[in-house]
């Protein structure tokens, strides 16, 4: 087998093995270099995978050489490659900025381990996406979760600790629910391989056990996904985590959970079961709507910008779920697009805040009055991200909202349009509060003589901001990939 054929496993084990390496190297600079190299190598490998699956092929990789269902299989289709690309791309960008930010926020003697944990979080997320085995999902879920708890707790405020603990409890409940769900599936089919499960489930799909498995998996993944009302852990976790962790998590963690949801709902259970028998969309739809409206509303009243963005994330997840709830190819495409675009916009926004945090040491709105005068480039990127969040045309956010509304219209659900519009308007309000304060208020005296953030932070921030513009203007790439992914995901639907 050539190197090319090993890409499916390489994208996971490169960061995975980089973690112990970081621990062994033990010096922040070396560990950072190792992590940087690993993340970029992973990114490159992922691009290879995307290329291999671009036209809808599925790659299967037998770990340990054992054929499924006896061994564990990695299964990369367009959808998986797409999500892998998001995770590794964001990780690669984050690692560029990490050195500067980490040097300021993490004590030097823990920095190496911090990088190791970051690599583990990344590897865990990659593993969840790559695998074709239900139980393997659980294992990698825990790798990413455990490292995430640790990463969040490294925040400077003591509330980071409590936030991490809350996340740990909620996350573990979620993981245990997923474990119960997988257990029921295994109980009724005797297999753990997703493809095999999909083949064997229809025969037993009338059993209450399968319905319960479905329910438990949905709730469990919903917890990881911060599905309203299971989102309570998210705002604090994102708000108090170290800057780089916020960037990485906000851009990737919930996306992978969405992927997982798609995997189980469509690949494992199949849309017939999920939709016709379980009517999942009637559960998701109201939750998504409430999430969009209530979380956006709460975001309006936040003083802490990271917290505000975190609530915004809950709302954005609402949009993604809304797309899923439409349960049409268009809707799922919209959801996938928003998965990608939301990663870009939240990445840019949190990255800009990381730069602000680096300079000012605070992201409380009141502390930042007039900061635009001193850090115009950073806050300029913030504005671009914010516009994308609102869904202004020529930004990535517009593309996904466009698709979402079109899908809603196609499904005949007209009344969703006002919901989306109100959500966007609330986004205008909470984002514009910030713009007003940083650009138009008289400067906070404490800020005098602040300077622009260093290039190592500014570069990644702008890279993400420009990506928002690029994928807003030239959305062919994302829409095309999303559509291919959806086609392979729900071939039967229509």
């Amino acid at each position: 087998m050539t190197l090319f054929e090993h890409l499916p496993v390489l994208v996971v084990i490169i960061p995975l093995l980089a973690a112990p390496l970081c621990v062994l190297l033990d010096r922040p600079v070396l560990a950072w270099l190792a992590a940087l190299l690993a993340s970029w190598a992973t990114f490159a490998a992922t691009i290879g995978l995307v290329a291999q699956t671009a036209s809808g092929e599925t790659i299967s990789y037998y770990l340990g050489g054992w054929a499924p269902p006896w061994g564990i299989e990695y299964r990369i289709d367009t959808l998986a490659a797409y999500v892998l690309l998001i995770v590794s791309g964001i990780a690669a960008v984050v690692m560029l900025a990490a050195r500067t930010s980490v040097a300021k926020e993490i004590p030097a003697d823990r920095a190496a381990r911090f990088y190791a944990a970051l690599m583990l979080a990344m590897a865990g997320l990659m593993g969840i996406v790559a695998t074709g085995d239900a139980f393997n999902v659980f294992v990698f879920l825990e790798i990413s979760s455990l490292s995430t708890y640790a990463l969040i707790s490294m925040g400077r405020d003591r509330r980071a600790l409590y936030a991490a603990f809350q996340y740990l409890v909620m996350g573990t409940i979620g993981a245990t629910f997923i474990l119960i769900g997988i257990g029921f599936l295994y109980m009724m089919t005797g297999t753990l391989n997703m493809a095999d499960l999909a083949a064997r489930l229809p025969a037993v799909s009338n059993a209450a056990t399968i319905s319960a498995a479905f329910a438990f998996l949905t709730v469990g993944i919903g917890l990881k996904l911060a599905l309203f009302p299971l989102h309570l852990w998210l705002p604090n976790a994102y708000a108090y985590a170290p800057s780089m962790v916020s960037v990485f998590l906000a851009a990737t963690a919930t996306k992978v959970a969405v992927y997982l949801m798609l995997r189980f709902v469509f690949t494992v259970f199949g849309h017939e079961f999920s939709l016709e028998q379980m009517a999942l969309h009637y559960v998701l739809l109201p939750l998504a709507v409430v999430a969009i409206l209530s979380a956006s509303l709460v975001a309006v009243f936040q003083q802490d910008l990271k917290r505000m963005l975190a609530y915004s994330s809950v709302a954005q997840i609402g949009y993604i779920l809304l797309g899923l709830a439409l349960m049409s190819p268009e809707g799922v495409t919209a959801a996938l697009l928003h998965v990608f675009n939301h990663a870009l916009m939240k990445g840019a926004l949190f990255m800009a805040l990381a730069a602000v945090m680096w300079r000012v040491g605070s992201v409380q709105l009141t502390d930042l009055a007039g900061l635009g005068r001193y850090m115009p480039w950073t806050l300029g990127a913030f504005v671009i991200g914010a516009l994308s969040l609102i869904g202004v045309p020529l930004t990535a956010g517009f593309v996904s909202k466009w698709y979402l509304v079109t899908a809603a219209i196609d499904a005949g659900w007209w009344w969703l349009i006002p919901v989306i519009a109100v959500g966007s308007l609330l986004a205008v309000i909470y984002v514009w509060r910030v713009v007003e304060v940083v650009w138009f208020r008289p400067p906070n005296p404490a800020l005098v003589d602040q300077r622009e953030a260093p290039l190592s932070l500014l570069g990644p921030t702008w890279a993400l901001a420009l990506a928002n513009l690029y994928f807003g203007i030239h959305a062919d790439l994302t829409t095309g990939t999303a559509e291919t992914a959806v086609a392979s995901l729900l071939g039967g639907l229509r």
């Binding site: 087998m1 090993h6 496993v9 084990i13 995975l16 093995l17 973690a19 112990p20 390496l21 621990v23 062994l24 990789y61 037998y62 770990l63 340990g64 050489g65 054992w66 269902p69 006896w70 061994g71 564990i72 823990r110 381990r113 911090f114 944990a117 583990l120 590897a123 593993g127 085995d133 139980f135 393997n136 294992v139 990698f140 825990e142 790798i143 455990l146 490292s147 708890y149 640790a150 707790s153 490294m154 119960i180 029921f184 295994y186 109980m187 009724m188 089919t189 005797g190 297999t191 753990l192 064997r200 037993v204 059993a207 209450a208 056990t209 319905s211 319960a212 498995a213 329910a215 438990f216």
Partner: protein
Amino acid sequence: MTLLGFLVLIAVAAIRLRDLFAVVMLFGVYSLLTAALFMNLDAVDVAFTEAAVGAGVSTVLMLSGLHLTSRWEQRPKRSPLLPLLVVGVTGAVLVHAMLDAPFVGDPQAPVQTHVTPYYIANAPVEVGMPNMVTAVLASYRGYDTFGETVVIFTAGLAVMLLLGIQQGTHNRPGLNAIGDQLVLRSVVKLLVPAILLYALYVQFHGDFGAGGGFQAGVIFATGFVLYDLAFGEGDARTVVPPGWLHRLAALGVLIYGGVGVYALLAGKPFLDYSALSADPVAGQHLGVLLVELGVGITVFAVILTIFYAFSGRGRRA
């Protein structure tokens, strides 16, 4: 059945008691009982692990945690209605699900008829070891076990990040307050070598019976935990310096991963042990031995790290 009855009693008591110390003790008992139940359900390996982990490591850790926090729980102010409702609904769904589930022990259940027969028929031949659990664990689903090793490594990393580890000192804390635990020390000194050797026995006999790298690592670490408890952390840290541990933990993961990468370099899929030798079965054997070693090293290092981290905090407090 009786065991299950005991479990129910303990669970109810754990809800009601406010003395967290008692709750933790009961949790230890609960784990031990669960392990006995696993024996009864033919899950030797699991029983082994649950006993070492649930009753041993978890209890010790929780006690350390309790020591560093507080022993008494406040009377909760909030209403129990909502939790009860959630639990009720969840429980109802579970009970509902159970009504359609195959009976316990039904030989016609899908679990027994689909993938399992393959393992039972082929594992002893293809992997060449009598203990099918080890064969499945380390070879067929070796990748899961790799993940498991990484999970434990992650936990060690997390605890190191959170608590940090103090370097060893030579004082014997606790002793000045209580006086000399002479009897305990003498007995422990006799037992520790036996425990360590037993751990290594478990490590290398996983192919034949209950045990394997994970259990061995836990027991090996337990030996030093016992030593630490009796002789004080100063001595323990001189025997096994904390500086070794994070390197060992990383090393274990790298051994496991290294076997996988070696297979890659040999042109086989990741973790395909048949790349290790011309004879596939011998390759499997060697591979399992190596990866179990990696697991053992990591688990030992991490468990001891965690324990050190807690006891180090204790001294400061």
